[in-house]
């Protein structure tokens, strides 16, 4: 059975919907577009969709990936055309291809995520920002305490940083470019990295007003990185 792999966006219009709601929006669009999608067996059949990675409420993305298992192969350009017409504002199709045979799940192969975090500055002097980022980049380890209903957990942040954090100064704001590893044993959220930057490296930004945008999801071997539709 063929899988239709899509590269899609989560735009500004739907920044504040959850991953589950994003997934149902896709499911409904697939029904509207009459894509011959496969369903699971059993009493409670569900559409066979799998996403590469869940996106948090409040985060936008220019590159999400989903595999749609199909019962038959509709001509690719037809499928894209029909889906595009059925999708709500905020979800655009940027790439698509059919994948044949039994391939590993997206979730299992994607191991790198890149983000742009835009956040208002609380200081005029860009030097302070640069210092703070440099300290972070040069630190051997950075520990962050994640609090959840299950309790507190200490996490070492740097193990997940694929590259040094880069900055782009903007008008009264700064853009941080993060490259974060997704590992079988876990990862760190971009917002958590910023919390660590503010809390431990005195990054002078207004953390209540940060905007996170995912710029890419990749399969990386440390040297070469490709997106799931480039495989």
């Amino acid at each position: 059975m063929a899988k239709l792999r899509l590269e899609i966006t989560k735009g500004e219009e739907i920044r504040y919907i959850s991953h589950l709601d994003y997934a149902s929006a896709m499911e409904r669009a697939i029904i509207r577009a009459k894509i011959p999608v496969a369903y699971s067996e059993g009493f409670n059949p569900h559409m066979k969709l799998s996403f590469a990675s869940a996106l948090a409420v409040g985060v936008t993305s220019q590159a999400e990936y989903v595999d749609i298992e199909c019962k038959e192969e509709v001509d690719l350009s037809q499928a894209i055309k029909r889906l595009t017409a059925a999708l709500p504002l905020g979800i655009l199709i940027k790439g698509a291809k059919y994948i044949q045979g039994n391939v590993p799940a997206l979730m299992a192969i994607v191991n790198l995520a890149t983000y742009d975090v835009t956040v208002p500055l609380l200081a005029e002097d860009i030097g302070i920002i640069e210092d703070s980022i440099r300290w972070f980049n040069e630190a051997e380890t950075v520990s962050y305490v994640r609090e959840s209903p299950k309790g507190k957990k200490e996490i070492e942040v740097k193990q997940y940083m694929a590259k040094a954090v880069k900055i782009v100064p903007l008008e009264k704001a700064v853009r941080l470019m993060l490259e974060i590893k997704i590992t079988p044993t876990g990862s760190i959220k971009p917002g958590e990295v910023v919390v660590a930057l503010v809390g431990m490296f005195d990054l002078p930004v207004d953390i209540d007003n940060l905007l996170i945008h995912r710029t890419g999801l990749y399969i990386s071997d440390g040297n070469v990185q490709v997106s799931p539709v480039e495989l």
Partner: protein, 535 residues
């Protein structure tokens, strides 16, 4: 939103509510009134109709509560009685014409125009006077444009009226997050506690081929994967088995399932439930409403102990093991014996399972609500039980339902008491509502937000007595605050039904059997549309 200075806006167009010509609220439940005020306030629209000029949106209410919209009369410019499909167009046309001509005669100009449209009630065009004992003395129009009695709008034939096939599909999970396919409108079984049964008369069925077409269009336009066959009593749809077959045939490929929101208590319903659950499986719910045969006769719920036993037997044989039973307490003539009858039924269901399956293991959920007498029903004269009495009966039943396989849920008696006061309230409750909202009442239907004391303080501050509205028995000759708002069913019919109730006499369903002369069909020029009967 207040803190950040954001006015209430619409989700679709992101436009401030205040900038619209007309703002409509659906009044489904009395306990949502405080939220209506809150929304108006968030939208920065003055709450009281007298404070709004022609530059403010026209505030319109619809839904069952408008049939006694008196408690919200101070806030709404007009209330629409009955079905919206046709009257909505009349209203929009009138407002558009008025606007085009430069809003002639301002706000009062448009209200007088609207008052002339059938089914539209403009509360400010009526004066209410009261007797010394607090009951209504007279309700009379204060303007020649307003009719003495406003009668509900009703769509003659649902097959020819337009229907929305492209509903908005929200991103977020909502209540009823599925396609709602309305099979028919109205229900003439004549349960005497039921307000919807009176308000939506007569029964008018859609043709199966129309429904099938609607269903397909809606799946294509929404992408929903579930269709709920809605109606007041869906299992009464005369062409149901054939419709269910064709819906499932046509839509199964697309992964679309069909569900029935309510089941009639008989084995026919179980067969159907079994059929529709080929795709998705859920629990079964029945509503015997009362625990004893005597009391079920009082409320004209034409269900016998045997019906229930047959239905549950069929359900257990078909593989279900959990059953939910809905009841009410506080019905007219109710005794403790009737209340304990609820427990007997619950145990009977457990026993039946053991008989059929040879082992224990059934789960029974018993949900008991507190009966709230509603306007335009045969029980509109009946004084609601006081909260203490409800609580005593709840404890009585709880003590009897001590089996780990039975879950007992009951409603908060104080919420029902407040609902009772507003359901049969008059215009003077508007000030109580305003005061309670000012003191923080919101989301009163949600137990975690319900602030009973705020409401009681509001009654006290306004010098009003909630017991006068909720728990007082009325005389048949008392003028009700809603007597000028007509559902088409006559007061004589309601009174006859009340008298039949207390003498435990049944009234048959007028759809197939004798007409019970409620007055709706001749009065409104409509008739029962029942395709199964005519075919």
């Amino acid at each position: 939103m207040r803190e950040r200075n954001i006015p209430l806006y619409t989700l679709e167009s992101l436009k401030p509510v205040k900038e619209f010509d007309i703002v409509g609220f659906s009044l489904q439940y009395e306990m949502s009134y405080s939220n209506v005020l809150n929304m108006l306030d968030l939208a920065r629209i003055p709450l009281l109709t007298v404070e709004r000029d022609e530059n403010m949106p026209i505030i319109i209410g619809g839904g069952p509560c408008t049939f006694n919209g008196e408690p919200v009369a101070d806030f709404f410019d007009c209330l629409v009685l009955g079905e919206g499909e046709e009257v909505m167009e009349d209203i929009v046309a009138a407002v558009a014409a008025w606007k085009k001509l430069g809003k002639v005669d301002g706000k009062s100009g448009i209200l007088k125009k609207l008052a002339q449209i059938g089914g539209v009630y403009v509360p400010s065009l009526y004066d209410v006077t009261y007797h010394e004992d607090g009951t209504v003395a007279n309700v009379a129009p204060n303007s020649p444009e307003a009719p003495a009695v406003v009668t509900k709008r009703v769509v003659k034939d649902l097959n020819t009226v337009g229907y929305a096939t492209k509903p908005i599909v929200p991103f977020l999970d909502i209540v009823h997050d599925r396609i709602m396919l309305e099979l028919f409108r109205g229900c003439t079984r004549g349960c005497r506690f039921c307000q919807a049964g009176v308000l939506y008369r007569p029964v008018r069925e859609r043709r199966p081929e129309v429904l099938l077409k609607m269903a397909k269009e809606m799946v294509d336009s929404t992408g929903y994967n579930e269709i709920s066959l809605t109606s007041l009593s869906s299992a009464d749809y005369s062409c149901l088995p054939g419709l269910v077959d064709s819906l499932m045939d046509e839509l199964k490929e697309q992964g679309v399932s069909v569900s029935l929101p309510s089941l009639r208590i008989d084995s026919f319903s179980i067969d159907l439930a079994q059929k529709v659950q080929q795709v998705r499986k859920s629990g079964l719910t029945f509503a015997p409403e009362a625990g004893s045969q005597r009391l079920r006769d009082v409320i004209n719920k034409g269900v016998t102990q045997k019906n229930l036993e047959d239905a549950v037997t069929a359900a257990f044989q078909a593989g279900w093991s959990s059953v939910k039973l809905y009841f009410m307490m506080g019905l007219p003539t109710e005794t403790d014996e009737d209340v304990l009858g609820i427990a007997d039924l619950a145990y009977k269901v457990l026993d039946l399972y053991k008989e059929i399956k040879g082992r224990r293991g059934a789960k029974v959920t018993v949900s008991v609500s507190c009966f709230v007498p509603k306007p335009h029903t045969p029980f509109q004269w009946f004084g609601q039980n006081i909260a203490g009495e409800f609580e005593r009966k709840q404890q009585l039943l709880k003590a009897r339902l001590r089996d780990k396989n039975i879950t007992f849920n009951w409603h908060d008696a104080r919420t029902s008491f407040l609902e009772g006061a507003f359901a049969r309230g008059d215009r003077r409750l508007g000030q109580v509502l305003l005061k309670a909202w000012q003191n923080g009442a919101r989301f009163d239907g949600w137990s975690e937000y319900f602030k009973y004391d705020v409401w009681m303080d509001a009654f006290k501050t306004c010098g009003m007595d909630p017991y006068f509205y909720a728990t007082r028995d009325r005389n048949f000759d008392e003028i009700m605050p809603w007597d000028h708002l007509s559902s088409g069913a006559s007061k004589e019919f309601l009174q006859r039904e009340y008298e039949q109730a207390v003498t435990e006499q049944l009234t048959s369903d007028c759809r197939r059997e004798n007409c019970s002369a409620c007055g709706v069909c001749p009065g409104l020029g409509v008739e029962v549309l029942d395709w199964g009967n005519k075919a």
